[in-house]
Symmetry: C2
Subunit: 293 residues, 2 copies
């Protein structure tokens, strides 16, 4: 069975890619920094998060022009988090997306600044979005910052560092911050690209979808980390367990993990059944369940 | 001669300090991260930037309530930049404001995340400012992000790393990004707390003030780095030259540097003569010229 969503995703990847590229103009003095930012941001990302923003925006009637800057902002946050995650003091990963990590290519200091700069630029891009109301821009900044910061993604990374995860429930909490929070921001930014003041049922339904999708995605990552090939993944096999990271497989068998990811995918799809034409994010969830990398 | 501005500054420090503290609620799982953020953000900063925001806001008629969140946001950006600057891959400084740097106290990984989180929170705080219009919030985010990012402060840090500064002019350009950009953001955020759509003459006058003040401030820092005492500075004497950083003293004598900082201070004060009652920022510039730490 083929997934229609793959064609949609590929088309979105192209649009997001060229929108991202268009943000950069050259400046000789800071060329190395922008080169490092572009190295990690462009070419190679799956753009799942950007695609979620565009998909929810479309479902709620936003134009693509209104949603693209928000989609780019989410990808900038994602790229920054990967650069900082790969640094020696964090996961110390030399490879990312099949090529040397940012700090291997540009040095640690420039990689640190490239991450900082992408994080900062994400909010600039939201604020410069002139195809939405000022209120929508502010809401996008509010959602993205609250879900990416210490109460969201950064908080999840801190828990991940702390080595205090002793149960599946604690691991779920970790991933709700580390992975799902940014996915939730991506989905909600699509909604806010379309609607100035959305109703709370829509926000809750989309949040539930994102929470379930993020956890299913992470479980799938943990499964692929031990069953995939290095070539498929673009990073060494078993690198998560090598780094003593707790994965779901510390708390359940591979088979139970597969069942859990199917159940979470089903819950994600059910959550958005009430939203207008949810075919695309539903298909995306199924496709992600079938991915090999 | 005493400076009235010192009393105003001290009163602002108290208000900003309690506003900053109020942003944090406790969460057991991410306690270490918020502790690291608060360790670097609270208690010890001179709050010059916050004071500039409050001063320009007052000059243009904003309420203090409207300006405080923007002032806090600027201090969050400043605190993040110091945390990341002190990291081993950057300046590798063990001391900051007379106490161990964030990474010495909390470890590199948590320090990295604390910086990321403060940067992110700065934009959240701007977006949550409900005492100004949505347009003012968006403008604050736009200004702060564009001046703190790769075209501003981060770009300046990259040039500083590159060791390519061969002339006084290049050093001035470096500091216009590394130091003045955030000071400019601080001043402009005060204006935007008061006015939805400011006139361009005000923006230019305030920008000129900030450029001159920032450079004068940096020259003063370079002078104090060789003439101050470790106790006054809260960091080892000569730590900038130790790190092979180019300072203005690489291009001019101590005496010429003192003359340059006086001239820049005069230019800063002249620039804002056209603004409504500019006594406070003018006095601040004079007071900064006289500082010993």
């Amino acid at each position: 069975m083929g997934f229609n969503v793959v064609n949609e995703l590929n088309s979105a990847v192209e649009k997001v890619e060229s929108a991202l590229e268009a943000y950069y103009s050259s400046n000789k003095a800071t060329e190395k920094l922008t080169d490092a930012m572009k190295y990690s941001l462009l070419g190679g990302g799956k753009r799942i998060r950007a695609f979620l923003t565009l998909s929810f925006a479309k479902m709620y009637g936003a134009t693509e022009e209104a949603a693209i800057p928000f989609a780019c902002a989410v990808e900038m946050i994602h790229a920054y988090s990967l650069i900082h995650d790969d640094l020696p003091c964090m996961d110390n990963d030399d490879m990312r997306r099949g090529k040397p990590s940012c700090h291997i290519k540009f040095g640690e200091a420039t990689a640190l600044l490239a991450g900082d700069s992408l994080l900062t630029q994400a909010f600039e891009v939201c604020a410069l979005n002139d195809k939405v109301s000022a209120l929508s821009s502010v809401n996008a900044v509010r959602i993205l910052s609250s879900l990416a910061g210490y109460k969201g993604m950064c908080g999840g990374q801190e828990i991940d560092l702390s080595d205090k995860v002793e149960s599946y429930e604690e691991l779920v909490y970790l991933h709700s911050l580390k992975t799902s929070a940014l996915i939730k921001a991506a989905c909600l930014l699509g909604l806010y690209a379309a609607v100035d003041v959305p109703n709370s049922e829509d926000v809750e339904a989309i949040s539930e979808y994102a929470d379930c999708l993020g956890l299913a995605f992470q479980i799938q990552d943990d499964i692929l980390d031990v069953t995939g090939t290095s070539e498929e993944l673009g990073k060494p096999i078993g690198s998560d367990s090598k780094n003593d990271k707790k994965t779901v497989l510390a708390f359940m068998s591979l088979e139970d993990a597969r069942v859990a990811s199917v159940e979470l995918t089903t819950r994600a799809i059910s959550a958005i059944a009430r939203c207008p034409d949810s075919t695309t994010p539903a298909e995306l969830a199924l496709w992600l369940l079938s991915r090999k990398k």
